[in-house]
């Protein structure tokens, strides 16, 4: 069974950095905001590295754990996880890199939580980042080309989030997880990632509810990562056809990049979900049990050019919050 519970894994601290697009919406209170996509560096890749480093440094210095970090699990979008690998070369900390495209955040949380829960390590930092121009260069067109955006497409979010996990108690508990299956519903349009990922979100949610024998109302909030406005409509339709009720649902990507500001389907990128969860959802103090469904479109530009259909994955992780973050 790919669903399991955690007994003593807690989130002690988080640090978020967001880019200029991310503050246009309703979320403004990030720990740090960068106004320049270069972040004072020479290349966009260096800028993304600097964001990851800032998260790591801040968490380490704030919690005074300079020599005590047992593990860093990092995930982002760059080929060969080049950004995370390069960042971790500057630290003497055991490191695991993971890739599930935009579901990398949940994958890193699952890996770290599992290690802590099984008492192999005491604490871990999960790092997630994405940078619009790094992703744009790698997956799409040159940045200055300004390829026209179409309504069903999404824009990659810029930012980095570090999450400090530990076996010491805090008000946010990581309670359970479901590892997703790769699903492929035959969509080959890499601009319509919501449509690619919606079946993955549906499959994982269904499995999660079945495995724990719970109703979707068990959670105060179910939040998907970056299905966008197109994908979340399809997701809801899939659930409806399978008689799964979903009243307490939002999509982080649709929330981060609002329709009024951006004439596209929403935000994508692994950092979308943690940016929204840690800077908005947890700070509203409204929700006690939250299920995070991080979805990832696992496409490679090579296979897309070879007209292959796009596989997708979704990992679920649930949090229980006693109070707000601050």
């Amino acid at each position: 069974m790919a669903s399991f519970k955690f007994k003593n894994v807690y989130i002690l601290d988080t640090y978020s950095i967001a880019g200029p697009n991310e503050i246009k919406g309703s979320i403004k209170n990030y720990d740090q905001v960068i106004t320049d996509y270069y972040f004072g560096m020479k290349t966009f890749e260096d800028a993304e590295e600097k964001m990851q480093q800032a998260c790591l440094d801040n968490i380490i210095s704030k919690n005074k754990i300079e020599t005590k970090v047992d593990l860093v699990v990092a995930g982002e979008l760059s080929n060969q996880l080049a950004i995370s690998n390069d960042v971790m070369a500057k630290y003497q900390i055991p490191y695991l890199g993971c890739y599930s495209a935009c579901a990398s955040f949940n994958e890193s949380l699952i890996i770290a939580s599992n290690m802590i829960d099984s008492k192999k390590i005491k604490n871990a930092i999960s790092l997630t980042s994405s940078h619009i121009n790094v992703a744009e260069r790698q997956f799409r067109y040159p940045i200055e080309y300004g390829a026209p955006k179409i309504k069903r497409s999404t824009l990659t979010a810029t930012g980095a989030v570090g999450v400090y996990l530990s076996n010491k108690e805090s008000n946010i508990k990581v309670t359970s997880a479901t590892i997703g299956e790769v699903v492929d519903y035959g969509i080959s349009d890499c601009l319509n990632m919501g449509a690619v990922m919606a079946p993955a979100a549906f499959t994982t949610l269904k499995k999660h509810l079945e495995d724990f024998k719970i109703d979707s109302n068990y959670y105060d909030l179910i939040i998907t990562g970056d299905l966008g406005r197109v994908g979340s409509k399809i997701f809801k339709e899939l659930l409806k056809e399978n008689n799964i009720k979903l009243d307490n649902y939002i999509d982080a990507g649709s929330l981060l990049f609002k329709e009024e500001e951006f004439a596209i389907a929403g935000s994508s990128g692994p950092v979308t979900l943690p940016l929204v969860v840690f800077n908005k959802i947890l700070k509203t103090k409204k929700y006690h049990r939250i299920l995070l469904l991080a979805t990832g479109s696992l496409h490679s530009t090579t296979l897309v050019n070879q007209k292959k259909t796009i596989p997708a994955i979704c990992h679920a992780i649930s949090l229980e919050v006693e109070d707000d973050l601050s």
Binding site: E144, P148, I150, P199, L238
Partner: protein, 144 residues
């Protein structure tokens, strides 16, 4: 749900593009570029430059302007707005080469800029030459 049913569901919820608006926008901006070219051409010929040379100079000026504006960083915003109106004329070709060059210059002059400068324009050049060759052959066969 099988894959065909799913495709129908996706189609139902995927917003369609405003093709007529985009086409109209491209038509107007394309025409504007045509008008600008004629103006440049007229100015050039008024300085006693021959028609043939004035033609070439007009194209060179458009290429220069598109590349300059790309380098200054605002041409991509124009392209994002009017789309094919700027992509189809020679300005689009110049813009695609310049934007690739800007993007890859940090990856090295040979491995980055050199290898990628025609990333987008390469197809235009290749199939332009191929079709020119085929048309030339047809012309020779038909008219000698």
């Amino acid at each position: 749900m099988n894959k065909d049913d799913y495709k129908l569901l996706v189609k139902k919820y995927t917003p369609s593009e405003e093709r007529l608006k985009n086409a109209l926008m491209a038509f107007i901006t394309g025409a504007l570029i045509g008008i600008i070219s004629i103006i440049i051409f007229q100015i050039l010929t008024s300085y006693n430059i021959g028609d043939k040379e004035a033609n070439v100079w007009t194209i060179i000026i458009l290429i220069f302007l598109a590349s300059l504006f790309t380098g200054l960083g605002f041409f991509d915003n124009w392209v994002a707005k009017v789309r094919c109106g700027l992509i189809i004329p020679i300005t689009g070709f110049a813009h695609s080469v310049t934007s690739s060059a800007l993007d890859y210059k940090k990856d090295g002059l040979i491995t980055g800029l050199g290898a990628n400068v025609f990333k987008l324009a390469g197809s235009v050049i290749l199939y332009g030459i191929v079709s020119a060759f085929i048309l030339a052959v047809i012309k020779v066969v038909l008219y000698g």
